[in-house]
């Protein structure tokens, strides 16, 4: 890549340009105020980086709760649980429903043949 000389004076080139750059750099350094770092600043930065990288420490009670929540959120397990619950509910409902219908039928028969016994 060719560096284009932007100096308006074509005769002013070579070592004098480098000297100008060095002076300009020194001037810029002196113009920018750099605040003093607090004591043990690098150690603090490294400590924070280590803490951020370290795995989150959890207590025993919370750990199993998190594990259980993660287990519950597994799609296959959730689907299986839903299926089991629905089948169980349906079976128990059908059993109780047929028992209730049977009792209703018994009450209807009793009301027909022995109405006085019910009072």
């Amino acid at each position: 890549m060719n560096k284009e000389n932007i100096n308006p004076d074509p005769g002013f080139a070579g070592s004098s340009t480098e000297a100008c750059n060095a002076r300009l750099s020194a001037l810029l350094h002196t113009s920018r105020a750099t605040p003093a770092l607090p004591p043990r600043f690098p150690e603090g930065v490294w400590r924070r980086i280590e803490e951020a990288d370290a795995p989150v420490k959890t207590t025993g009670g919370i750990a199993w709760l998190d594990a259980l929540a993660a287990l519950v959120l597994r799609p296959r397990l959730a689907l299986a649980t839903v299926a089991v619950l629905m089948i169980t509910g349906t079976l128990f409902g059908a059993r109780d429903g047929s028992q209730a219908a049977h009792q209703n039928a018994q009450a209807r028969y009793l009301a027909a043949v022995a109405p006085n016994s019910l009072h």
């Binding site: 929540a69 519950v72 429903g97 043949v113 006085n116």
Partner: protein, 164 residues
């Protein structure tokens, strides 16, 4: 922790809702389906596993018994009305009221005897084992109910004494 707890509680609520919902829907549907045929004798056929021929005989007996039962019910209702009239306004049990009570008791005994006779006839149309079971079940359900009422009344009377 809070997030895990919320997830678990939500899952529990969802599980309870699913179980309860499927139970309620299934129970309702099953009960409705089984109660569709509203014949008085459905229970007999289900409980005692009776054949079509046995059910025809029982149906005849049932239809013959119902008018007698209705007649007896009407007599008892009329006698109860007479008793209420005899008791109306009086502070003690008059001889006329006692007479009505005795007549009402006699009518009830007659009604029960007629009912037991019907149960016996129905039981005889069934296979012997089922007939015995039917008779025992009907005695338990009809005469047993009186025993329950009497024992509960004696219990409540005692309770009232304690209250006073």
């Amino acid at each position: 922790m809070n997030r895990s707890l919320v997830i678990l509680l939500g899952a529990l609520v969802l599980c309870a809702a699913l179980l309860g919902g499927s139970y309620a829907v299934s129970r309702r549907v099953c009960q409705n389906c089984m109660s569709k045929s509203a014949s008085d004798l459905d229970w007999l056929q289900q409980e005692f596993h009776l054949s079509g021929a046995e059910m025809v005989n029982i149906q005849k007996l049932h239809e013959g018994y119902l008018p007698k039962c209705a007649e007896m019910c009407a007599k008892i209702a009329a006698k109860k009305l007479e008793l209420e009239t005899a008791m109306n306004g009086s502070t003690n049990v008059s001889p006329a009221a006692q007479q009505k009570l005795a007549e009402l008791a006699a009518l009830r005994a007659q009604c029960q005897a007629q009912m037991l006779q019907h149960f016996t006839e129905v039981g005889q149309t069934m296979p012997p084992e089922q007939g015995r079971r039917y008779l025992a079940e009907m005695q338990r359900l009809t005469l047993g109910l009186h025993e329950q009422t009497e024992s509960s009344m004696s219990g409540s009377a005692g309770h009232e004494h304690h209250q006073h």
